[in-house]
């Protein structure tokens, strides 16, 4: 299934583990929201023993949505509840192993040179067992290890058996590399997994607590420099990318925040003391993910940039509630509240402006015949853009005495061209030499002008306009 998982954030994790059963929204898939108005919720429900609860129906659930996370309205249209959807679609699991110095001690924390006794060897064996027994063909697995640095040994392998050889590439770090950058590594892992689609899970195994290089060596980390990641930041990375974190404490010391981070991302936390327990936990995690439910419902139309969704779960006397939100931003955004009624007047104002544009008259026809300059020639100036032809003889030239003076061109004579009016015939004639063109043709002595003729005098373009009176007479 092509799945786009919308980023989700917990605003309140669980309003209560009111009973012994627990409920978490592992992911929200809002990819079908625009086309079908449907939201898919991936729900993980476990009983008081931490086992997945089976054989649930839609009657066990109620869905509520809210714009602000305070006032919820029930969503009536719950459409489908599918058990074990991930078994069909597959899961992408990143197995993240602590490869700090302490992982090369024994299970009881004593230093050892005997490889099989080292924690890392037990962890590798448990992973081998997990790979051999628990994967289905649709699953994808990645392998990473961390100490001072995070290393990805493989990415998105579809044949998990290939991990067998890759586990051997995890080697004991040098002293400088044996710090435990737990939080940074978790955050970077989430970023890495964010690029993949589908159900995404990170399973981290650690034998200690976050032990950052910068804090404990006093020197800037080569990658993270002086940056220190908080548990809250890690949690947010997972929540926003829709990734569930499962944490395994493998050793005597524990990171005090790791369990909460896991729970806050919809996952869980485990303690393992030996290889057998570790293998069982890996299988248990896989089973939990596979046993999730996908609840499909028709979303309400909530005018908000994010919509909170609350799931109420009931079974017998057990009642649990949890909520998250998904993003529902629209291009135009949220409405003005209350609606400013007066703005409706703007429609009338726009219509009025449009009418004004319609009424605009852009150019008035000259009453008398005229010469109108379209373009002045290069580096020339004209004395007027329009001159009416009200006299019998109108001179165009470079001199001051011309009726239309074109200055700036030495080649232009004082009386370069003349327009003569014949009162009897009521027409205009242009007189000049062959440097003048009329309608893009060289002037041959004289030319009777008609309305719209174009004169070019040394680069200056002039239109002869017969005038409104002349036009009417025609």
């Amino acid at each position: 299934m092509k799945r786009f998982i919308y980023g989700i954030m917990v605003f309140t994790l669980i309003s209560g583990f009111l009973g012994a059963e627990s409920l978490s929204i592992a992911q929200i898939d809002a990819s079908s929201l625009l086309l079908s108005q449907e939201i898919d919720l991936y729900l993980s429900i476990t009983d008081d023993d931490g086992r997945s609860v089976e054989e649930l129906s839609l009657d066990n659930f109620s869905i509520f949505e809210s714009a602000d996370g305070d006032t919820y309205e029930e969503v009536p249209d719950l459409r489908d509840l599918e058990a074990k959807p991930n078994k069909v679609t597959g899961i992408h699991i990143l197995l993240l192993i602590d490869n700090s110095g302490s992982m090369y001690d024994t299970l009881s924390g004593a230093p050892t040179e005997t490889v099989p006794d080292m924690r890392i060897s037990h962890a590798k064996e448990a992973i081998r067992d997990f790979i051999d027994s628990s994967f289905n063909p649709r699953d994808v697995v990645s392998l990473g290890s961390f100490n001072t640095f995070l290393t990805f040994h493989s990415e998105a392998i579809k044949d998990p058996s290939a991990l067998e050889g890759l586990l051997n590439t995890i080697e004991e770090p040098e002293r400088e590399k044996s710090y435990t950058e737990l939080y940074h590594s978790l955050a970077d892992s989430a970023e890495k997994m964010a690029g993949y689609r589908g159900r995404k899970v990170v399973v981290v195994l650690s034998d200690g607590e976050d032990y950052p290089y910068y804090t404990h060596s006093g020197e800037a980390h080569p990658v993270y420099e002086t940056g220190v990641k908080s548990p809250e930041e890690v949690t947010r990375e997972y929540q926003t990318e829709g990734i569930t974190l499962y944490a395994i404490h493998f050793g005597l010391s524990k990171d005090e925040n790791l369990g909460q981070i896991a729970v806050d991302t919809g996952g869980n936390v485990y303690d393992a003391r030996n290889e057998a327990e570790l293998a069982r936990i890996y299988r248990d995690i896989k089973e939990k993910i596979e046993n999730e439910y996908r609840l499909t419902y028709r979303a309400a139309m909530v005018p908000s940039d994010r919509t909170f969704v609350r799931v109420d779960y009931r079974r017998g006397e057990e009642e649990v509630s949890t909520a998250r939100y998904y993003f529902t931003s629209t291009i135009f955004g949220t409405p003005a509240d209350p609606y400013p009624v007066l703005i409706l007047l703007l429609i009338a104002a726009a219509a009025l402006l449009w009418v004004l544009l319609l009424l605009l008259r852009y150019r008035k026809l000259n009453a008398d015949a005229a010469l109108s300059v379209l373009n002045a020639g290069y580096s020339t100036k004209v004395s007027s853009m329009t001159i009416p032809l009200t006299q019998n003889k109108t001179i165009i030239g470079g001199g001051d005495r011309a009726d239309l003076t074109i200055s700036g061109l030495p080649s232009l004579r004082p009386e370069h061209a003349t327009v003569v009016y014949d009162p009897k015939a009521r027409n205009y004639t242009l007189m000049g030499d062959s440097t003048i063109t009329v309608n893009n043709r060289r002037l041959a002595g004289t030319k009777r002008l008609s309305d719209g003729d174009v004169l070019n005098i040394e680069g200056t373009t002039i239109v002869f306009e017969a005038g409104e009176k002349q036009e009417k007479k025609k």
Binding site: S31, L34, D305
Partner: protein, 297 residues
């Protein structure tokens, strides 16, 4: 009217369209809960927004040429193409918005300040392209559609950015969306005009008669001339003009005049054209009593 004035009017029309669209969109947003789904809600917003902008832009051609028939026809076809463009553009934009916010945010604050605005701007971009293209479709011109797409894209980005960042800077400013809509319309008109000027191979200016001074840009590959209202250049009130008299056609980087009427001549520089003639700078073309001047911009 010169092309400059015509382009200014297009820009003003964009502003007016933005002003007219705002109260309607605000009304739709207020009644979001009434819509059964995001699909119908997005469709309604796209249709209303596209219709308003399309109708105003569509009326521009008739408005500038003062042809009443063209005003109504242009507004109606603009409305229709605007509806189509707005619907497609808005749905695509909304889909992109939903997709983009999935991958870009890291916290609600970052999401609100960066991801959502950027995603919405992308949505505006698509909406702008759709509306810009619809103006070209209305004129049945690929070149004009491409110009419209370019203008719409730039206008969409800038208008969308204005809306988003005004809202981010002044969350209580209810006029932020109005300003954005106005800028959206303005920028589409402005960049449409700028791009049109850039791709145009010149303009045809009417030298005489009732259309005197009006200019037609070669932002489209074909301009038909005649007395019929179906032409791009309608020569109403001119004598000896056939319903379909001539066609200005752009071929490569040259402009040609083609004679369409059998009995009525087309003159270029007072010489009759047999069938077709390539135009050069400052040629004077005559169809019936109407004269045109070909010039580059």
């Amino acid at each position: 009217m010169s092309t400059t004035v015509r382009r200014l009017i297009l820009i003003v029309l964009g502003v007016i369209a933005g002003v007219a669209a705002w109260p309607l969109i605000e009304l739709l947003l207020t009644y979001q809960r009434v819509f059964p789904s995001y699909f119908t809600f997005s469709l309604a917003q796209g249709i209303v927004f596209g219709a308003v902008l399309g109708a105003f832009y569509g009326s521009g051609e008739g408005l500038t040429s003062k042809e009443k028939g063209k005003i109504l026809n242009g507004a109606l076809t603009g409305l229709a193409t605007g509806i189509a463009g707005g619907a497609v553009g808005f749905l695509a934009g909304q889909a992109v918005l939903f997709l983009v916010i999935q991958y870009t945010f890291s916290s609600f604050r970052t999401h609100q300040l960066i991801a959502v605005p950027l995603a919405r701007i992308l949505g505006w971009l698509i909406l702008g392209i759709a509306i810009g293209v619809s103006e070209g479709l209305r004129a049945r011109s690929l070149k004009k559609s491409l110009v419209g797409a370019g203008g719409g894209a730039i206008g969409g980005i800038l208008g969308g950015a204005a809306i988003e960042y005004l809202r981010a800077l002044y969350p209580d400013l209810i006029y932020a969306r109005l300003v954005g809509f106005v800028l959206f319309g303005l920028f589409i008109g402005l960049f449409y005009a700028l791009l049109e000027r850039r791709v145009s191979l010149g303009v045809i200016r009417v030298l005489n008669g009732s259309r005197r001074g009006k200019e037609y840009s070669f932002a489209q590959n074909r301009l038909t001339v005649g007395s019929s209202h179906r032409n791009d250049i309608v020569l109403e009130g001119y004598s000896h003009v056939a319903p379909a008299h001539a066609t200005f056609r752009v071929k490569g980087k040259e402009v040609y005049i083609e004679k369409e009427a059998d009995k009525l001549p087309v003159l270029v520089n007072e010489v009759p054209v047999k069938k077709t003639k390539m135009l050069k700078y400052e040629d004077v073309i005559q169809t019936g009593s109407a004269k045109f001047f070909y010039k580059t911009e």
